[in-house]
């Protein structure tokens, strides 16, 4: 494969940028959360690419730990969103403004 490291890092950076775009743009908490997962996805792509081009295994192991922690984080975050919906009947961030009043 003659594709260099820069192409992978550029792709990872663009994935991160698209994730940040979604976090700012969307109002639905679930979609914001999916965009956060997209940002994590870009980061782990960069780590795997660095690991492959550096010739060491450590980046791959970091990705292993990141995936584990992300799975735990998703389970806990979705439980919090369900609890929020049960309390307020809404998951839109523009309707969750009780602290600003």
């Amino acid at each position: 494969m003659t594709v260099g490291l820069n192409a992978f890092i550029l792709l990872a950076g663009l994935l991160f940028a698209i994730g940040m775009f979604g976090v700012i743009l969307r109002k639905n908490t679930l979609v914001i959360y999916m965009s956060l997962e997209l940002m994590l996805n870009g980061v782990i792509l960069a780590l795997v690419a660095f690991s492959r081009y550096n010739g060491t295994m450590d980046g791959n192991l970091f990705v292993f730990f990141i995936i584990t922690v992300a799975a735990a984080e998703v389970a806990l975050g979705l439980a919090i969103i369900v609890a929020l919906f049960r309390l307020r009947q809404s998951v839109m961030v523009d309707q969750l403004t009780s602290l600003s009043r």
């Binding site: 490291l5 890092i9 743009l25 292993f64 799975a71 979705l78 919906f85």
Partner: protein, 180 residues
């Protein structure tokens, strides 16, 4: 050949990620997200990280996105997501931030001071050396070896973190009774 595969998978990843962000229906967004995760796993295969590709499909595209779809359909919040383009302030702010971030990322690859281009190192099939730097291999054996030698403490801490997350989910999602 693999170069063409890289460009195809990169294009699918970026397009499905953008579709996830801008699709007004959250269920369609979750499906686009699954496509994005699967093509990222394909990119892992191109990077010869086969074990991580399998983990990516099983954990992200399987467990995590099924959980997302389950919660989206459980909460049924699709009825009031029609005003995506109505809020001009949010739209302008997010597009400005996205453009600035893309320019920042692109400036590392274009122009006079771009990053140095590195070549692929050869993959060692059967690792024998022990020590600080574990060489890159394609076998799942080196994962187990690294997890139980160099990364023993993070491995244990991650296991404890999973236990804490499980207990936390039970506590958060438990219904509080009125009389207690």
């Amino acid at each position: 050949m693999t170069d063409i595969l890289f460009y195809i998978f990169a294009a699918i990843t970026l397009i499905s990620a953008l579709l996830m962000v801008v699709s007004p229906n959250a269920v369609n967004g979750a499906i686009c997200m699954i496509i994005c995760f699967v093509t990222t796993a394909a990119l892992f295969v191109l990077l010869e990280a086969y074990f991580l590709a399998v983990i990516q499909v099983l954990v992200y595209a399987g467990a995590v996105m099924v959980l997302f779809l389950f919660i989206i359909m459980l909460l049924d919040v699709n009825k009031d997501t029609s005003d995506l383009l109505k809020d001009k302030m949010t739209l302008g702010a997010s597009i400005t931030g996205f453009t600035l971030l893309v320019i920042l990322i692109g400036s590392a690859f274009a122009g006079g001071q771009h990053l140095p281009e590195t070549a692929l190192l050869p993959v060692i099939e059967n690792p024998t050396g022990e020590g600080a730097g574990i060489p890159f291999t394609t076998s799942a054996k080196s994962f187990g070896y690294s997890l139980f030698t160099k990364y023993m403490l993070p491995f244990q801490v991650t296991g404890f973190l999973l236990l804490a997350a499980m207990i936390g989910v039970i506590v958060v999602s438990k219904k509080h009774s009125e009389n207690s």
